[in-house]
């Protein structure tokens, strides 16, 4: 079973989207802030990380940077899933090594699931 680390501070999304991913047959690890996200990424070595950007404690961009600097986690694909759509945000995330950048408001639940499946090669 493939494992997804879901770094997201909105508990509503953790609950709903986490449930959807479980139904799709993935094991979901939840992290409610950037610090926990980084720790769990190292400990659990998930197959994919879903990363929000506006996060408590450590900002998503810094989480992404640290993940890609660390040899233990740099190979894990990261999908940025956020509502942040400022100037240069997409470019910055892709430069830092994110696989895809998804703006929540622009995708349906099922579309995001499809993107995740594709990223995990299923």
């Amino acid at each position: 079973m493939k494992t997804i680390l879901f770094v997201e501070d909105e508990s509503v999304l953790q609950k709903t989207f986490g449930e959807v991913l479980k139904q799709e047959g993935y094991e979901v690890i939840s992290a409610l802030d950037g610090q926990i996200g980084l720790r769990l990424a190292k400990e659990k070595k998930p197959d994919l990380i879903l990363l929000d950007l506006i996060l408590p404690k450590i900002h998503g961009f810094d989480v992404l940077k640290k993940l890609k600097e660390d040899k233990e986690t740099q190979e894990i694909p990261v999908i940025v899933l956020t509502n942040l759509e400022g100037i240069g945000d997409v470019d910055k995330a892709l430069e830092l090594g994110a696989t895809t950048y998804l703006v929540k408001a622009q995708y349906t639940l099922e579309e995001v699931v499809e993107k995740i499946k594709k990223a995990l090669g299923k």
């Binding site: 989207f17 509502n83 942040l84 100037i87 929540k104 408001a105 349906t108 099922e110």
Partner: protein, 316 residues
């Protein structure tokens, strides 16, 4: 401007009330004061100069004194302009912050509704699905409005990101048509596209231009009554690429034409026909096309249809 409009312009106190400013903060009133001072002082200097021509020092001192007064008035005017500009900046910033803040709860709402509709939580009856669809549609409308507001606030703050690259307008139009085909079919509208062969590529921002085409095509499809047809033409005109989208929809009443690119403006006949829409699409389209160095325009007859077009220079 007609005579009535001109007279309204002259009524300074009502103009100042429109901005919500007191008289001594209002640029129009201060300009009037400055004008009066200039006329009055010129006359005074002339009169005094005539009488005391043998004493140039007095005249010079008088001119100096009046210049000082004018300087003070000009400073106050500049300050009041600064305050107006600051208020406008704060308004845009406020819209931007509010839009960002609204996005999170809105996308939560949207996904939870989709989750319920998907049947993943439990089976959904036809009746329930009908109401979920209403929730979803309204959620989507709010999301679109918030996105439009964000774009508008960026345009007004001069922070619209542009990333220019070489693109084929033909391919871009094809992509938009494919994406909007379902919407067109659901609206009983047929899209027909004619493109001149071997059109040169243009250097422009792909995503912003896509937004313009989506907005124009969306309007064309949306405002067709019953079965309709939308025609897209792409051609090279002199040094420009010309795009136009023609519909046989409700058209724009003559009186509304001058307001059509204004923010939040929605034509009366459109409101009768269709309640959806933020009234921001054409404002956004115009702002983007102009920022990309092009021109946008339209021709329309009520009850017959509208044609919206834009031109973009081939070389930039």
């Amino acid at each position: 401007m007609n005579l009535k409009g001109f007279c309204e312009q002259l009524n300074v106190s009502s103009q100042c009330r429109k901005y919500g400013l007191s008289l001594w903060q209002c640029p129009q009133f201060l300009f009037l004061v400055m004008g009066l001072i200039i006329i009055g002082s010129s006359l005074t200097v002339y009169a005094i100069g005539n009488r005391f021509i043998e004493d140039p020092t007095l005249v010079a001192l008088l001119v100096l004194f009046i210049s000082a007064i004018l300087f003070v008035v000009a400073t106050i005017i500049t300050r009041s302009f600064e305050r107006l500009a600051e208020a406008s900046r704060m308004k845009s910033e406020f819209v931007s912050v509010v839009s960002h803040q609204l996005r999170s709860p809105l996308s939560n709402l949207k996904w939870v509704i989709e989750f319920l509709m998907s049947g993943r939580v439990g089976s959904v009856t036809e009746k329930q699905l009908e109401y979920f669809k209403i929730l979803k549609e309204n959620g989507d409308r709010m999301t679109e409005l918030v996105s439009d507001l964000l774009i508008v606030s960026r345009i007004e703050q001069g922070r619209l990101p542009l990333k220019k690259e070489k693109i084929s307008l033909d391919d871009l139009v094809g992509e938009v048509i494919r994406e909007m085909e379902i919407f067109a079919r659901a609206s009983n509208v047929e899209i027909d596209s004619k493109s001149e062969k071997n059109l040169p590529p243009i250097v422009t921002d792909y995503f912003q231009l896509k937004l313009v085409i989506v907005n124009l095509l969306d309007n064309a499809i949306r405002y067709v009554k019953g079965k309709g047809r939308v025609e897209i033409i792409l051609e090279k005109k002199n040094k420009n690429l010309h795009f136009e989208v023609k519909d046989n929809g409700v058209g724009i009443p003559q009186d509304d034409k001058k307001y059509i690119f204004q923010k939040f403006f929605r034509s009366g006949n459109v409101l009768r026909h269709q309640t959806k829409g933020s009234g921001l699409g054409l404002y956004i389209a115009k702002s983007i096309v102009e920022k990309l160095g092009g021109k946008i325009g339209f021709s329309s007859r009520e009850g017959v249809g509208s044609t919206f077009w834009f031109n973009l220079p081939v070389k930039q």
